[in-house]
């Protein structure tokens, strides 16, 4: 399985000239590399990528000169050097590991106990040469775009013919198969109905040839199409993200819609009436989708498919879990405590934890929902909500309430399978509220803060994201990651976005379907980044540009030691459980509600 993986060292230095800084990997089908778009000069115009026919190679409908294609297959982009086991040739300008070494190290890491020591050894073996700091052309995320988009807020009223509308970094459109607009991130759907009609025409045209359109690539933009049942989702992006990442984001958008309607209902609606205007059901929910798209742009949880946990003394976390564990009612299946948008603890019904688990993706949708409905800070919400990764066809009933009005940073989320259970579940909240008051836990929770990268005590380390895989199997817990606050020089929104773009770029290359990499050392203009994936973790680090390869190795060793030491505080180690079988102390006279018949199992 490591066969196709390689190690890549890259630097931001580029050949002088007009080489497009945007590197386009184009995939026609998951896992099947097709073409790689090179510089503008080599391949002007637009290329459209579609799924292949059932068993032949993926087709390539290219608007550009057909002659591009042959060269693209073997094209190596100019700014980075890669080493795959297949094309293991050395390049005098850059550093490579040999294929053997890459394979060697890949198998070596399995047995390596201390990953910190391992990285040191591995990097040392590769006989690194120092690269000049990249100062010429910028790395992709630095690429400037044209006119700046209008200020946020009035997106619905935007003039869709204006340049500013076109200049948005990422558009997302949702339409029905009949070409009816359902959602547009910017501008009103009405104003865009002809645009969406054209998109649908494109989709249908390719479909009529028994094919599926997947993406369109131009110099500035990547357009990704995704069809999910009767819905078509389209992303038009100049963010430089990979097609895979954009597709991942579209899946979130689709899932958020499913979370409000369920997949089965969407299918039923369109079976019944092909040109149904789904906005009738989604009106008022646009803000939830707007909020999701904003989060996708600024919260790396989505990129990593992992949950960001609030760092907390394990004693406090345990105490809070215990409070949740004791406040139960029949059919309650998840109790979740959130502070400042980060997960504090999650308690699950015993049968749930055995049969399934809450996926990070579903929790992200829940967190977005909470964020979008902050108007209810004074009230208690009771809403049907579908968790698409758990079961796309069924509703849970979510109770959402803030525990600390008016500051509203601590939120309680209780999920039940019984739609009538509002008052019983609200009663659980009172119990939780009382217990937390008695233990002064709310005050302690209010003091919880994200940590700073300086706490790690590594001088050149500015920021990192660490996602461990080493969770004991039997816990089957949520995939989590830890990351410090983004501080200077990444405190402004623009700089935060720039750093995230750099991470996204590294992530895209690590997870590239055509040429996945295990290690990337990237010298950018204003910082140096190192991304590394092993069987135990995925790590992205950002250093000041003064770091050397040797010192970055050192720093990562120290960082991994620090995380190990702080593990208890940074992650939820042992997710607690409860059992909401009938509680004998309560007057509930329904012995038929046992663990196997609490309504929950019928969901599975």
């Amino acid at each position: 399985m490591f066969y196709s993986r390689g190690v890549c060292w890259s630097s931001g230095c580029e050949k002088q000239g007009d080489v497009s800084p945007v590197e386009n990997h184009i995939h026609c089908d998951e896992g099947q590399p097709q073409t790689e778009e090179g510089s503008e000069a080599a391949c002007p115009g637009i290329s459209i990528v579609t799924d292949g026919f059932a068993d032949s190679a993926p087709g390539d409908v290219s608007g550009g000169p057909a002659s591009c294609e042959g060269e693209e297959h073997t094209h190596l982009d100019s700014q980075d050097t890669h080493l795959d086991s297949e094309d293991a040739h050395l390049d005098s300008e850059h550093t490579h590991l040999s294929a053997e070494q890459a394979l060697d190290s890949a198998s070596g890491e399995e047995s390596q106990e201390d990953s910190g020591e391992f990285v040191a050894a591995m990097l040392a073996r590769s006989r690194l040469e120092e690269q000049g700091l990249g100062v010429k052309g910028g790395s992709p995320p630095l690429a400037d775009t044209g006119p700046s988009p209008p200020p946020p807020g009035l997106h619905r009223d935007e003039d869709v013919t204006a340049d500013a509308w076109r200049a948005h970094r990422k558009h997302v459109f949702v339409l029905s198969e009949a070409g009816k607009p359902i959602y547009s991130r910017y501008g009103s759907e009405e104003a865009l109905s002809s645009t969406m009609g054209v998109m649908m025409a494109l989709v249908s045209f390719v479909q009529s040839g028994d094919n599926t359109i997947r993406s369109v690539h131009s110099d500035q933009h990547t357009v990704v199409f995704m069809q999910q049942g009767p819905l078509v989702l389209v992303s038009v992006s100049s963010s430089g993200q990979s097609e895979q990442q954009l597709r991942h984001e579209l899946r979130y958008v689709y899932n958020q819609i499913v979370s409000m309607l369920t997949q089965a209902s969407i299918a039923r609606i369109f079976q019944h009436k092909k040109n149904y205007d789904l906005r009738r059901l989604l009106a008022g929910s646009e803000k939830i989708l707007d909020g999701l798209l904003d989060l996708l742009d600024c919260d790396p949880s989505f990129l990593l498919s992992a949950v960001h946990c609030m760092p907390l003394a394990s004693s406090l976390r345990d105490a809070l879990s215990h409070v949740l564990q004791k406040a139960i009612t029949p059919n309650l299946v998840f109790s979740i405590l959130i502070a400042q948008g980060q997960l504090v603890t999650i308690v699950q019904e015993r049968t749930v934890i055995e049969d399934a688990r809450l996926e990070p993706a579903d929790l992200h949708l829940l967190l977005n929902l909470i964020g979008a409905s902050s108007a209810f800070q004074a009230g208690e919400i009771w809403t049907p909500i579908c968790l698409p990764s758990f079961n796309p066809d069924c509703y849970f009933y979510a109770y959402i309430s803030y525990l600390d009005p008016p500051s509203c940073s601590v939120c309680l989320l209780l999920l039940s399978t019984d739609k009538e259970a509002f008052y019983a579940v609200a009663e659980c909240k009172r119990k939780i509220e009382e217990a937390m008051l008695a233990q002064n836990a709310l005050a302690a929770l209010a003091k919880a803060r994200p940590y700073s990268a300086t706490q790690v005590g590594v001088s050149d380390l500015r920021h990192f994201m660490y996602k461990p895989f080493d969770v004991p199997d039997n816990h089957r817990q949520l995939t989590q990651f830890t990351s410090p606050e983004m501080e200077s020089p990444y405190s402004s929104e623009a700089e935060k976005t720039r750093l995230l773009d750099l991470y996204r770029d590294l992530h895209g290359r690590i997870h590239s379907t055509s040429r996945p990499l295990k290690l990337i050392y990237h010298v950018a203009e204003r910082e140096t980044l190192l991304a590394w994936v092993t069987s135990k973790f995925e790590l992205y680090t950002c250093f000041s540009p003064l770091v050397t390869k040797a010192s970055s190795i050192n720093a990562i060793t120290k960082l991994l030691r620090w995380i190990k030491k702080e593990e208890e505080r940074l992650f939820i180690r042992y997710p607690p459980k409860y059992s909401t079988t009938p509680n004998p102390s309560r007057t509930r006279k329904a012995p038929e509600h046992d663990a196997t018949d609490n309504g929950f199992l019928s969901l599975l």
Binding site: M260, L261, T262, A264, S265, L281, A283, G284, S285, E286, K287, I288, N331, L369, A372, S373, A375, F376, A378, G379, E380, I381, W382, T383, P384, I385, D393, C394, Y395, F396, Y397, A398, L403, P405, T417, D418, K419, E420, A421, F422, Y423, A424, A426, E427, R430, K431, E433, E434, L437, T587, A590, E592, H593, D597, G599, F600, S602, L603
Partner: protein
């Protein structure tokens, strides 16, 4: 700090129904927070408790998708008042009240009070453009509006150009009377349409306090009756549960 749990048992239930975007949440927000905010979205239903003298009134704000996921009857069960809300600039929203929302109120109390509320009056009537309504301002002003020519000729330079009013007070009152007929309550001593049809603006605050306070005053007898009959002044948890083995909301 949160109030102690025992204080929070509601005496009576009020439900706000109506199509999405007519301004239900904005109305409630205006009434409880004295503010108008544009960035609110409703998911499902939101439960609020309002202290009204010695009584606790629970208010359910709904999303407008109730008949789709079937929670509407749960929100309405045992309600003493239902506020049916439409948008005065959108005829369809009035029609939807009858077509989609009225049937959800079948689980409300038999003596439930129904109010018909046309919101966004500020969009059609310059008289409601001012900020907070002055004390003593009455429905008179709202009543007069349908006679005003709207839309044409008003302030070309006005950034918030007035919209055509699509629903007149007469239409709303006619609906009120149809609601009573539907409920089989025409014969009972129900308040007349003039008292329970409102035009409001959550944006300016016009008529919002009047709406809620009229309704709260009208449900007082229902609270007193409940108390004197010795029925517990709480929402009965057991009663809310359907005795049959609850089927999870699988579709």
């Amino acid at each position: 700090m949160p109030e102690p749990a025992k204080m929070r048992k509601p005496d009576v239930k009020v439900v706000i129904l109506g199509d999405m975007n007519v301004g239900k949440t904005s109305l409630l927000h205006r009434y409880t927070e004295r503010k108008f905010k544009d960035t609110i979205s409703t998911v499902g239903g939101a439960f609020f408790l309002k202290q009204w003298g010695p009584y606790n009134i629970s208010i359910w704000d709904t999303a407008g998708r109730e008949q789709f996921h079937g929670l509407g009857s749960m929100y309405c069960r045992g309600a003493s008042a239902v506020i049916l809300t439409y948008d005065v600039t959108n005829w369809q929203t009035l029609a939807e009240l009858e077509d989609r929302f009225l049937s959800l109120t079948d689980t409300a109390n038999s003596d439930c009070i129904y109010a018909i509320v046309g919101n966004k009056a500020d969009l059609t009537d310059s008289g409601t453009h001012r900020a907070e309504p002055l004390d003593g301002q009455t429905e008179q002003e709202g009543v007069g509006t349908e006679l005003q020519p709207t839309g044409g000729g008003v302030g070309g330079g006005d950034p918030a150009a007035l919209l055509q009013k699509q629903v007149s007070q007469e239409d709303a009152r006619a609906l009120y009377n149809r609601v009573l007929r539907y409920k089989g309550m025409e014969d009972k001593a129900c308040p007349p349409a003039e008292r329970l049809c409102f035009e409001t603006s959550a944006k300016t605050g016009y008529n919002v306090d009047e709406l809620f306070e009229t309704i709260f005053d009208m449900v007082l007898p229902s609270i007193l009756k409940k108390r004197s009959q010795g029925t517990p002044s709480t929402i009965d948890l057991e009663e809310c549960r359907v005795p049959k083995s609850t089927k999870a909301g699988c579709c």
